[in-house]
């Protein structure tokens, strides 16, 4: 236990160091081996931890050491393992291992593979630290670490300027959220005098009454951090552009793990959020809005990965909705199943992209189902789970739980948003699958598609296919001890809701099949004229947030900067630098190199000293 727990992040960290210091000596195969094995060993350690935890299911921790001790401020390198962190740990190392393995096939023959694996391993280490840290300072360290790795990996193909800008965008937008989070942490420390998570959860209800303005403010700031990291409205604009990175990166960081960190943060600090009911409701509303906005946007994308990116936002919106209605268990459960089926979808997309010679435009693909049977299976199973087809898929069980929590807590409007979102999910999923695999190939790249071969390509996909079916829902996260009991309600209502949700999903599939298979030409016609075209453009650009921010924030800011270039404040700030410069020039005159001046200065110093001493008596 004391050894196993730190190993889960030390092993990937060791992988990073080996890769970083190998200096390209390892070659492609060697780098892939180191990268995969280090995460594999971490996954093994996690498996042993799971075994131990299930034998004795109670929260436990390891304090490695106290970093520095100054009265109340005693940040420790302490790790904590409870049901929540164990679930996250399992997702990170388990799904992470599959994605690392798949990447060995995906990245084959590309340059910079050592760099790729070094950053991927560093990401896993940071993410594990984020979920295991028993205090918010360590969590923040991991939080920043995953942000850094995300930046580095989005810009993996840095020779293209656009990728660099996408990395910038992701970094800067999430940084806005991070600033909120940091201020939130300062507030927590000021008010509660601790950053230890267990102590915060214990002291918060003692200090604050529910609805206290201070706790509302703190929760709001924390929510700001979560929104940035999890790409929720209004800080969501970076995620679609983040698809510039290699597809395994999108699968691991921008679908399965890092973007869910916000959900983890809120779930982890649920005690604080429960004291701030307004902010909690806001969380749910933002989740509902995001899931709808992103769902519409996903309908009008032409790039496979962008469809999946908006779908990720939408699914995380579901998780936020669940958090907002107090269904923490449901949120984490959906987080887990989502990580399975979204990783599957991204990896299948990666398989399609590589097989079709890096073609990712849906309109230029098509008719691939016979050529790429495994990728097709992946898309169908993953898509079914995403659309939450009843009974056979993992997504059904978790999404149903979220909707049920919304109903049982009496949030009818959120429930409606969730149901509408389910319809949209079915539609865009079907559009994606039909676009890629059915109809006629739209380009030579699609006609010359070659199916991937080998264990590294096949096995991760097969495992994820299995996990995306109802088998994945059999993993029940051991969260009973962690969260307050979920909302209860009549069994009859629950059954009715299940039937209704299934009906919506199936209706969406049916509608989609009719629209995309039978009325494709009509649909294209509508989307290219008048109102239809406008709507298409609006959704294609995801409601125009980018352009809006550009006009509302970026340009005014730049104008302001231009305007303030020579203002008083700047002059004062510049004065400090100039003062330092003048003082430097003045002092540098004393450094003449002449011995007699040096000796004279010493005599003057000694005389002054004696003078002061004489004055003293």
């Amino acid at each position: 236990m004391t050894l196993l727990l730190p190993l889960t992040f030390l092993l990937p960290l060791a992988g990073t160091l080996i890769l970083a210091f190998s200096h390209t000596r390892l070659g492609e195969r060697g780098s892939a081996w180191v990268g995969v094995i280090s995460v594999g060993l971490a996954a093994l350690a996690t498996a042993l931890l799971v075994h131990q935890f299930l034998g004795m299911p109670e929260a436990r921790g390891v304090t490695l050491w106290t970093w520095i001790a100054v009265s109340d401020f005693q940040p420790t390198f302490g790790l904590m393992l409870d049901g929540l962190s164990l679930t996250m740990l399992g997702i990170i190392t388990g799904v992470g291992l599959l994605i690392h393995w798949f990447a060995a096939w995906y990245m084959h023959g590309e340059e910079g593979i050592t760099r790729f694996y070094a950053y991927m391993n560093l990401f896993v280490a940071s993410m594990v630290l984020l979920v295991l840290g028993n205090n918010l300072l360590l969590l923040f360290l991991g939080w920043e670490g995953v942000g850094l790795c995300s930046y580095l990996l989005i810009g993996h193909y840095y020779h293209t300027a656009a990728n660099g800008w996408a990395a910038f965008k992701a970094f800067i937008v999430t940084r806005i959220g991070d600033a909120f989070l940091a201020v939130g942490l300062f507030l927590l420390f000021r008010e509660l005098g601790t950053l230890n998570i267990a102590e915060i959860l214990q002291r918060a209800p003692e200090l604050w009454a529910a609805g206290d303005p201070m706790v509302e403010l703190t929760a709001l700031l924390l929510l700001g951090g979560a929104l940035g990291k999890s790409a929720q409205l209004p800080l969501h604009t970076w995620l679609a552009d983040a698809m510039a990175g290699p597809t395994p990166v999108s699968a691991l960081i921008h679908a399965a793990t890092m973007v869910t960190a916000g959900v983890y943060l809120i779930a982890r600090l649920h005690g604080v959020f429960l004291l701030a009911p307004d902010v909690l409701l806001l969380t749910g509303v933002i989740g509902a809005l995001t899931l709808l906005a992103a769902g519409f946007a996903a309908l009008a994308q032409t790039d496979i990965k962008r469809v999946l990116a908006y779908s990720t936002m939408s699914q995380i919106g579901y998780m936020f909705l669940a958090l907002g209605v107090g269904g923490f268990e449901a949120a984490i459960f959906h987080l887990m199943t989502h990580s399975f089926f979204k990783a599957l979808l991204f990896l299948s997309a990666g398989a399609v992209i590589v097989s079709c010679h890096h073609e990712q435009d849906i309109r230029r693909l098509g008719g691939l189902w016979r050529r790429l049977p495994l990728a097709y299976t992946g898309f169908v199973v993953g898509g079914a789970a995403l659309a939450a087809l009843p009974l056979v898929t993992a997504g059904f069980y978790s999404k149903d739980e979220i909707l049920w929590q919304a109903l049982a807590s009496g949030h009818g409007e959120l429930l409606l948003a969730g149901l509408l979102g389910a319809l949209l999910t079915s539609l865009y999923t079907l559009r994606l699958i039909i676009g890629i695999f059915h109809g006629n190939p739209g380009s030579d790249n699609a006609r010359r598609a070659e199916a991937g071969r080998g264990l590294a390509h096949g096995l991760p996909l097969i495992v994820l296919v299995l996990l995306s079916t109802f088998l994945g829902a059999w993993f029940e996260p051991p969260l009973v001890e962690v969260f307050p009991a979920p909302h209860e309600g009549g069994e009859g209502w629950h059954l009715a809701l299940e039937i209704m949700a299934s009906g919506v999903a199936l209706a969406g599939i049916a509608l989609g099949a009719w629209l995309f298979l039978r009325r494709g030409a009509w649909l294209a016609d509508v989307a290219s004229h008048g109102w239809g075209a406008r709507l298409w453009r609006l959704w294609h650009h995801a409601w125009g947030f980018d352009a809006g921010y550009d006009r509302l924030l970026v340009r005014p800011y730049r104008g302001l900067v231009e305007w303030l270039r020579n203002d008083v404040v700047d002059a004062v700030v510049g004065l400090v630098a100039r003062l330092a410069w003048w003082l430097h020039v003045g002092l540098a005159r004393t450094q003449t190199g002449k011995l007699r001046l040096y000796a004279a200065s010493m005599v003057v110093g000694a005389t002054l000293m004696l003078l002061v001493m004489a004055l003293a008596t």
């Binding site: 330092a580 003082l583 430097h584 011995l595 001046l597 040096y598 010493m602 004696l610 004055l615």
Partner: protein, 482 residues
């Protein structure tokens, strides 16, 4: 008072270092051999270091004129580690040196012995002897590459100014003797009492001038950049590390054992000196384009920070000084180690101009990493050793409510960050096409390279996991004679 077996045991490290020096001298007389001499030196120093452990358990031991207590052992260990690093670096550096190479180790050992005496002195006579035994060999080391104009200049400058400073020191001692009639520190402290007379204060003031010169405290700092720049790499390393540590420790002992230092005026003087050091040192380094000079200015600033501990003079002062000295030592050794390795093997002037370092990362990534870590630590960035030291100093200043000093530390650190970053940026710029002098290809496998890598690792380790260091320093405080 007769010498007992315990006394002999306590003095054994000193004796072994001296014996090693004599062995080296005889060895040179018999047959010159660079590798052999270096090996004897290293073995002697390692043996001494190992010997410190058993003596640790019996400390404190009071020997006539000397006291072997926590502070003395702590300083001894730091001096020996610096000497070991210098020996390892010198072995690479002097590889190609045309003149005699073996004498450098002789000088190094003598200076180390001097430093150890100084740190253990509790009598003004041993203080003087130790200080001179430390300084005399240093003159030789600084001017070791005497065919180089700058090296010779460094040696002569340091020699003349140091002699002048010693004159002040001796005069201060004479004044104290005139006042007290004795030279051992406990007696001096007792007679001076809390409110010393004018002569006593003048004596202490002149003592401060003499020691302040060695620590390059403003306004006795002017020699520092010139000497750092001209001195051969290993000699500069020793001057910046062991010599300063030994002198600071003896100053700390003076402050701790003499209640007269708690006098408000003296504290005020120390505070002014500290503030001047932080600001002047950092400002002078602002656009410096020679790395060795820059490190010299930076050391002025760092001893300005350290003086804060002496201004406060009680409570956490010893712990703070210990932690700061240790982190500063490790960092400085790392930084100077890189400079020395880049100047190896000897071929005239050292590689210290900043443009030599442009794009170093693309040629020598590991060496650049070591230098980067060292510079980050000097700037006091978290997760490096320097942060812990600076944190202690600031915490001490805040606790004593010395707001001016805290302000000075903050302003100084801000200025410092600018010039440390300037150097770091240079390291990673695109490499110019010209060929330059460089570290030997196999530097990592050589003794000096291994030591430097180890130091960088230590800098990071102390920053991430400082607990053992802090424990150790607390233990040192515990067995220190007041």
């Amino acid at each position: 008072m007769t010498l007992t077996m315990t006394h002999l045991m306590a003095l054994l490290p000193l004796i072994v270092v001296c014996a090693t020096a004599i062995t080296v001298m005889l060895g040179i007389a018999w047959r010159r051999h660079h590798g052999g001499t270096a090996a004897v030196t290293v073995i002697g120093i390692v043996l001494t270091l190992a010997m410190l452990l058993p003596i640790w358990t019996m400390a404190p031991v009071e020997v006539p004129l000397l006291v072997v207590d926590g502070l003395a052992l702590f300083a001894g260990a730091m001096i020996l580690i610096s000497s070991l690093t210098c020996a390892a670096l010198a072995y690479v550096y002097l590889d190609n040196y045309p003149g005699p190479r073996e004498e450098f180790y002789l000088l190094l050992l003598c200076a180390a012995a001097g430093g150890m005496v100084l740190a253990a002195s509790r009598h003004l006579a041993t203080l003087f002897v130790g200080l001179e035994l430390l300084s005399m060999p240093l003159y030789g080391m600084l001017a070791y590459a005497f065919s180089e104009r700058r090296s010779l200049e460094a040696g002569i400058k340091y020699f003349i100014l140091s002699a002048a400073a010693t004159a002040f020191l001796l005069f201060g001692m004479a004044l104290l003797y005139a006042q007290v009639g004795r030279l051992d520190l406990p007696a001096v402290a007792a007679v001076l009492g809390e409110r010393p007379t004018a002569w006593g204060l003048a004596g202490i003031g002149l003592l401060l001038v003499g020691l302040g010169f060695k620590l390059s405290i403003v306004p006795f700092h002017l020699w520092t950049p010139d000497v750092y720049e001209g001195a051969p790499g290993p000699a500069a390393t020793f001057l910046a590390s062991a010599s300063k540590v030994a002198v600071f420790v003896v100053l700390l002992r003076l402050v701790l054992s003499t209640p007269a230092f708690q006098d408000d005026w003296l504290r005020g003087v120390l505070a002014v000196l500290a503030l001047a050091g932080m600001l002047v040192g950092n400002l002078l380094a602002l656009v410096q384009s020679n790395l060795k000079r820059l490190l010299g200015y930076s050391s002025i600033a760092h001893f300005g920070y350290l003086l804060v501990a002496l201004v406060v003079g009680d409570g956490l002062a010893t712990e703070t000084s210990g932690v700061y000295l240790l982190t500063y030592l490790v960092t400085t050794l790392g930084a100077f180690g890189v400079v020395t390795l880049l100047s190896s093997s000897y071929s005239g002037e050292d590689t210290a101009a900043l443009h030599h370092y442009r794009g170093l990362f693309w040629r020598r990534p590991y060496l650049t990493a070591v230098l980067t870590v060292s510079l980050l630590s000097l700037a006091g960035i978290p997760f490096t050793a320097g942060f812990i030291g600076k944190f202690y100093i600031i915490a001490l200043g805040v606790e004593a409510e010395r707001w001016w000093l805290v302000g000075g530390i903050i302003v100084g650190s801000a200025i410092g960050l600018y010039y440390y970053l300037r150097v770091m940026v240079t390291l990673y710029l695109v490499e110019p096409g010209m060929r330059r002098r460089d570290a030997p290809r196999d530097w990592g496998g050589r003794a000096g390279g291994v030591v430097v890598l180890g130091l960088a690792l230590l800098v990071v380790m102390l920053g991430v996991y400082p607990a053992p260091m802090i424990e150790w320093v607390r233990l040192v405080e515990h067995i220190t004679v007041r």
